[in-house]
């Protein structure tokens, strides 16, 4: 038997080790829109975490000297610039929008993570146990799905009351059946696969099979739902706050900043209702673009179509 001589390849002959940066640029090339969305998300996260340092002024303290100043007003005596103007209480809109990112992300992330995760466990569980458990569970989900999202959230707010934590509960609950249904349909197909039978025959517990063997395989629909939820949660929080049933003053929240309606400000200060809406739109836009990219990457069937 001939022995092939083994020559160690020198470093420049080896395929180059991919750096993180290579992955980033590759992602940016393949999913330009998704990357743009991700950048928006990063900016928001940064603004939310460092709001106290980034925001030029306090978002809460009212200052009647500066009531309804138009964008770009420069006050010479105190050397203050109001980039986006001020509201009816003399609070700097730019600072309030930056602090609002904190509220939006807190509600958006918490509600969608808890909601999607509960949906994941319930959906996989329902598919795994099948039979009557599945049937009853599905009818239950049907019932909850029959309520429009806003109506369900409103009813829950009526029970628990208003405030940031309550809003999170109100948004989380209607998300659960929506995620559970999608996850269940992918888990149903998994249940029939031989490896699940094998796991069962070894004598693994139900919990172990669900957590270790089924959940990892339904990650794709789960992550797709999760990213879609964040944008929806931000929108829902804004709607509830706008109605006065969500986050309460003086906390900075975008929906709350829109309260008061258009007629009030149309002539005197049109910038007051414009900027918070731009912030909401941009945030949801970012999460949607990113979510689309996640779906493209995760679901090969849809790849390069949407």
């Amino acid at each position: 038997m001939a022995i092939t001589e083994f020559n160690a390849l020198s470093a420049d002959q080896l395929p180059k080790q991919k750096t993180l940066w290579n992955h980033v640029t590759r992602m940016a090339r393949l999913q330009p829109l998704g990357t743009a969305g991700f950048v928006v998300i990063l900016v928001m996260v940064f603004a939310a975490i460092f709001a106290d340092y980034v925001a030029p002024y306090d978002p809460v303290i009212e200052n009647y000297e500066y009531m309804l100043n138009p964008p770009g007003t420069f006050d010479e005596t105190n050397e203050r610039t109001f980039l986006l103007g001020t509201d009816a209480f003399g609070r700097d809109l730019f600072s309030r929008i930056i602090h609002g990112a904190r509220t939006a992300l807190l509600v958006g992330f918490t509600a969608s993570f808890i909601g999607a995760f509960a949906g994941l466990v319930l959906g996989v569980g329902s598919a795994y146990f099948g039979g009557y458990v599945d049937l009853i569970f599905q009818r239950l989900m049907d019932v909850f799905m029959a309520f429009p999202l806003v109506i369900m959230a409103l009813a829950i707010v009526a029970i628990f009351g208003t405030g940031t934590e309550k809003v999170i509960i109100a948004i989380t609950i209607p998300f659960i059946p929506r995620c559970a249904r999608v996850v269940r349909s992918s888990a149903l197909a998994l249940r029939e696969l031989p490896y699940i039978d094998a796991a069962r025959s070894i004598g693994y517990s139900h919990t172990r099979i669900i957590v270790r063997h089924m959940i990892p395989n339904v990650m794709a629909p789960f992550l797709i739902m999760l990213t879609a939820f964040v944008g929806q949660a931000i929108l829902l929080e804004a709607s509830l706050s706008y109605l006065g049933l969500g986050v309460q003053e003086p906390t900075a929240a975008w929906g709350l900043m829109l309260q008061g309606g258009a007629e009030e400000f149309a002539e005197s200060a049109p910038w007051v209702p414009i900027w918070p809406g731009v912030a909401i739109t941009l945030a949801v836009f970012g999460f949607n673009l990113f979510g689309d990219a996640v779906r493209d990457v995760m679901d090969p069937k849809l790849r390069s179509q949407n």
């Binding site: 009818r139 239950l140 049907d142 019932v143 909850f144 029959a146 309520f147 429009p148 999202l149 806003v150 109506i151 409103l154 009813a155 829950i156 009526a158 029970i159 009351g161 944008g231 929108l235 804004a238 709607s239 706008y242 109605l243 049933l245 929906g255 829109l258 309606g261 258009a262 007629e263 400000f265 149309a266 002539e267 049109p270 209702p273 414009i274 918070p276 809406g277 909401i280 739109t281 941009l282 945030a283 949801v284 836009f285 949607n288 673009l289 689309d292 849809l302 179509q305 949407n306």
Partner: protein, 323 residues
């Protein structure tokens, strides 16, 4: 087919019953009741006797179980009772608002169809072109923009625009008149909320049309049509569109159902007295009878629309047979 329809209709009852139970329980979980809110609202001293009397009269003091059975009994016999807050029949309260909500839902759905189908088809036919990117950006923007903010912008634009143009700011009229009584007044009031929500819902439908079209355009029979030498316009409009409409019909149907009950925020922006506003009022007033009836109406519409959409599948696509 008929057995399927009957089976499917029987399946509606557990869902409706479940929804009725959920609403009943949720409402009883809300702290306070209509009597406490009515008499305790002003914050002055209230005679506890008076509250007790009110609770007895409205039946709130009854055991929950008997309340539940009288409520379900009412639903079965289509007797929705009287509103606990206004003392007027629930059907009357709803009947006043129903035409307005229905009209907006229809107008918004039409708006969304008019926008969504042509844009979705163009976007799919010219995949990855500039047109495609513009359409997609337009539709994602529609999903991202809260419709109430769009409403605020529309009112702002109207006010500022008319001010600049004629010197007198113009606002859509605030009082509702039926389209059969005063069409101009009616449309000048309702066209704006319909546009604002229609645009938002068109976004979802556009994306659905686009991806359904892309799927269909890859099918063999489309390739055959191309090989036959048909012009692209005919292939897209006559051959592909019909088959791509299936998922779009679902989306539009479900949207219509949600528009009937989910316009809570938009109605607030435009100051409309519709079902959404009535719902918010009845929940905050702990008006059990009215809220229960409203929610059951919305759920019923939703379930029925889903049912009709399922049946339309078989009609639109003869390959689908229910048995």
């Amino acid at each position: 087919m008929y057995t399927y329809i009957v089976k499917r209709m029987l399946m509606l009852f557990p869902t409706l019953l479940g929804a009725a139970i959920v609403v009943f329980l949720l409402l009883r979980l809300i702290p306070g009741d209509v009597c406490l809110l009515k008499f305790g609202g002003e914050g002055g001293y209230v005679d506890p006797e008076q509250i007790k009397m009110c609770q007895l009269r409205l039946g709130i003091a009854d055991p929950k179980v008997s309340q539940f059975f009288s409520y379900i009994g009412g639903l079965i016999t289509f007797d929705l009772g009287t509103s606990m807050w206004t003392n007027r029949p629930v059907t009357e309260e709803i009947a006043i608002r129903f035409p307005l909500s229905l009209q907006i839902a229809i107008m918004a759905t039409l708006t969304s169809i008019i926008i969504a189908i042509p844009l979705g088809v163009i976007s799919a036919a010219k995949q990855n072109s500039i047109t495609d990117y513009l359409v997609r950006a337009f539709s994602i923007a529609g999903i991202a923009m809260p419709s109430f903010w769009l409403g605020i912008l529309i009112i702002l634009g109207l006010l500022i625009g008319t001010q600049a143009y004629s010197g007198v700011p113009w606002m859509p009229p605030l009082h509702y008149k039926s389209i059969f009584v005063d069409p101009a007044h009616n449309l000048s009031q309702l066209i704006w909320p319909a546009l604002a929500t229609g645009y938002r819902y068109s976004a979802v439908a556009t994306r659905m049309t686009r991806s359904a079209m892309l799927d269909v355009l890859r099918e063999d029979y489309v390739r055959t049509a191309r090989a036959k030498g048909l012009i692209e316009r005919v292939i897209v409009n006559k051959h592909a569109l019909k088959n791509a409409m299936l998922p779009v019909v679902t989306i539009i149907g479900i949207e219509f159902a949600f528009l009937m009950g989910g316009l809570v925020v938009t109605e607030q922006v435009f100051n409309l007295n519709g079902l959404g506003k009535l719902f918010v009022e009845s929940v905050t007033q702990a008006d059990y009878t009215l809220t229960q009836a409203l929610v059951m109406l919305v759920v019923f519409i939703f379930v029925m629309v889903n049912f009709i959409v399922d049946l339309m599948y078989a009609w639109l696509d003869p390959r689908i047979r229910y048995s």
